[in-house]
Symmetry: C2
Subunit: 193 residues, 2 copies
Amino acid sequence: MRGAETRTEIVRTADRLFYEGGFEHTSFADIAGAVKIARGNFYYHFRSKDEILDAVIARRMQATQTLLAQWENDNPTPRARLSAFVRILEVNGDKIMRYGCPVGSLATELSKLAHAARAAAVGLFDVFVGWLAEQFRALGCADAEALALHLLMRSQGVAMLATAYRDPQFVAREMAAMEDWIDGVVPADSATP
Amino acid sequence: MRGAETRTEIVRTADRLFYEGGFEHTSFADIAGAVKIARGNFYYHFRSKDEILDAVIARRMQATQTLLAQWENDNPTPRARLSAFVRILEVNGDKIMRYGCPVGSLATELSKLAHAARAAAVGLFDVFVGWLAEQFRALGCADAEALALHLLMRSQGVAMLATAYRDPQFVAREMAAMEDWIDGVVPADSATP
DNA sequence: GTCTATATCTCGATAGAC
DNA sequence: GTCTATCGAGATATAGAC
């Protein structure tokens, strides 16, 4: 494995383990075991654990933008794109029920730790908010930003209780309620451009 | 300080530190420093860190039931009691913005750790759900349980984004939206018993 | 019931051979 | 670029004096 590939593999594995077990709980030994490299080798690629965290957040940022571009590509209308956002609760349902939302749980952990990377982690929320607001704006909604925050808020609330209760029926019911809410706030003439 | 008082003080301090810094991040040294006792003295009162966690959860359960009884005492009508629930987002606003919701963040952390106490922590949610459902039932709502879960879900979502964005205006706006939602689902004749 | 002292382990991080 | 060996700090937990 070449150097750049090793680095990528470290970040990819750390991303998964930080999500599944939490940032602080995940040790270098855990990552080294999963990547199958020696612990000491980390410090050729990263100077500290915090640097790995920065790389993980940057990786997630990249992955999020790729995901949003995919949603735009798969769904021609802004309304369908909002549904794509709602459906992540179902698409990632199993992982959310065990580990929560990767963005929300990381932001909360870093907030408790008063960690310097907290703002960067919250930046992942910003990307979603900006994208959602764009869709609401395209649908002719006033206060698109507030609507975006409201939808994200509901997604976070559902994810939290999904982690607590692990009840797919609850998630399905709340997803349907989110769709109904979207239909209620979108101006009626927005379907006829 | 007598033995029982020391135990109570340990649990009270651990409760706060587990909330503010997370369960795993909080060390015995942290608690000992705050309580001003020697580290070794812990093991007279508790056999392990997990036992302290059990005691903290039991303490929170007790505190929650006391809080709900207080809300019932302060608010004669079920509608006003629901508002009392909504207002915790404002009453505990500063702590939520820094540390998240104590119930949600603990449940998520224990879920990531696959910790045995996860179910007990989720039990704190149960108490809120049961109490909220009781209020909706008293107001003549069908599906009181689903309405209770929906309100709790929204409270959790707002708490999560409050931790991320630390924006009191967002919290106030969503609290108002929660009140509007309650007024929308409560049968109109429920105000005239 | 509380203390000091310490055992044992694991953590993040470093040094240096190859 | 990857390895082994190891450091010092801090973690949980134990032993035993008082």
